[in-house]
């Protein structure tokens, strides 16, 4: 590695590249959540409450994902039931 390369490689490690990387991740995340309907957190909470009437599930057992492409919107609900399903009486 020549003297010039040493300078160059040092240069590339400037803080600007760190800034760019951080921003790209942040902006991608912000944009993914930007168009989500605002009712999603409440929906997730209520679904969880309903399920917990019947099954003892963890607080994180329900995940709600919202995706959008040009032609459709997909609302994906994922409920993780415990292995030995213990149903509550009722």
């Amino acid at each position: 590695m020549g003297l010039l390369d040493l300078f160059r490689s040092h240069r590339q490690r400037g803080t600007a590249s760190i800034a760019k990387e951080r921003l790209q991740i942040l902006v991608a995340h912000d944009r993914a959540t930007r168009n989500q309907p605002s009712y999603l957190p409440r929906l997730q909470q209520e679904i969880l409450e309903v399920i917990r009437k019947y099954v003892d599930v963890d607080m994180n057992a329900v995940s709600v994902n919202y995706e959008q492409d040009e032609t459709r919107e997909v609302l994906e609900l994922n409920i993780v039931l415990p292995e030995a399903t213990t149903t509550k009486g009722g």
Binding site: L4, F7, R11, Q12, R13, G14, T15, A16, S17, A19, K20, R22, L23, Q24, L26, V27, D30, R31, R34, N35
Partner: protein, 256 residues
């Protein structure tokens, strides 16, 4: 980030090319456009007076002394942030659009009511950004609001045309890897580039003396704003001031 400096410069640039232009300060409570334009002592009525019917639009508009085609509508210094009603702003813009070719709305910082009012009726938006992480992130937030909270979005019309204007750019710091480059910012925000304004002493000198920096035709910032106006009007101009100004003997030796 230079929103008011930019509003003043773009409005003056449009007016200098013969377009009747009004520039409106939307920063209620923190009026500053009048100061940057150098007409602070001629303010009698303001934007909120017009909205409330306490003055008509012609009484409130201040004609620029340097350019006949340019008028300034100052913000109110009231503390009431909600003084700008959506209907009121719409009425004023509607009336102005009958006699003006361009209306430049100088948005306050943040995403509160004033900023929302400034962008709500817009056809075009110039997002003013510094090459700095918080500024770039805020700009992306603003882009999200532009695409979802405008009248055009509510009416399912064609979206607001968005342009990027990068200010306080320091090519020598970019070369050292200390500052995001114009291409970095453009890539992150994926926006059309209207202009790059170099970090310049001329900007502070201009605001000190109440002269829009675009009138300082000797300065790099003034010329960069002049180019930005030209691009906005459809001229195909190469971007200047992106490279380090004078290459010294030493840096040439290093082949940087």
């Amino acid at each position: 980030m230079g929103k008011t400096t930019t509003s003043a410069a773009l409005a003056m640039g449009l007016a200098q090319r013969g377009h009747r232009t009004a520039v409106i300060d939307f920063d209620v409570g923190l009026r500053n456009l009048d100061l940057i334009m150098g007409c602070e002592r001629r303010v009698v009525y303001d934007f909120v007076n017009v909205i409330n019917g306490e003055a008509n639009i012609n009484q409130a508009l201040i004609r620029d002394k340097r350019c006949d085609a340019l008028y300034v509508l100052p913000a109110s210094q009231t503390r009431d942030k909600d003084a700008l009603t959506k209907d009121g702003v719409g009425r004023v813009l509607e009336e102005l659009s009958k006699t003006f070719d361009y209306i430049v709305c100088d948005s306050p910082a943040g995403i509160e009511h004033g900023a929302h009012m400034a962008m709500y009726y817009a056809d075009d938006a110039v997002v003013v950004t510094n090459p700095e992480v918080s500024s770039v992130r805020d700009s992306d937030r603003m882009l999200g609001i532009l695409s979802s909270k405008s009248r055009r979005a509510e009416r399912n019309e064609a979206p607001i045309r968005e342009y990027l204007l990068l200010t306080r750019y320091a090519p020598e710091r970019v070369a050292k890897g200390e500052m995001l480059s114009v291409n970095d910012v453009r890539e992150i925000l994926s926006l059309d580039l209207l202009g790059v304004i170099p970090e310049s002493k001329a900007v502070l000198n201009a605001s000190n003396s109440g002269v829009p920096v675009i009138l300082d035709t000797e300065s790099d910032a003034g010329q960069a704003y002049h180019d930005a106006v030209g691009r906005y009007l459809g001229e195909d101009l190469p971007h200047r001031f992106l490279e380090i100004k004078k290459k010294g003997f030493f840096s040439r030796l290093m082949g940087g």
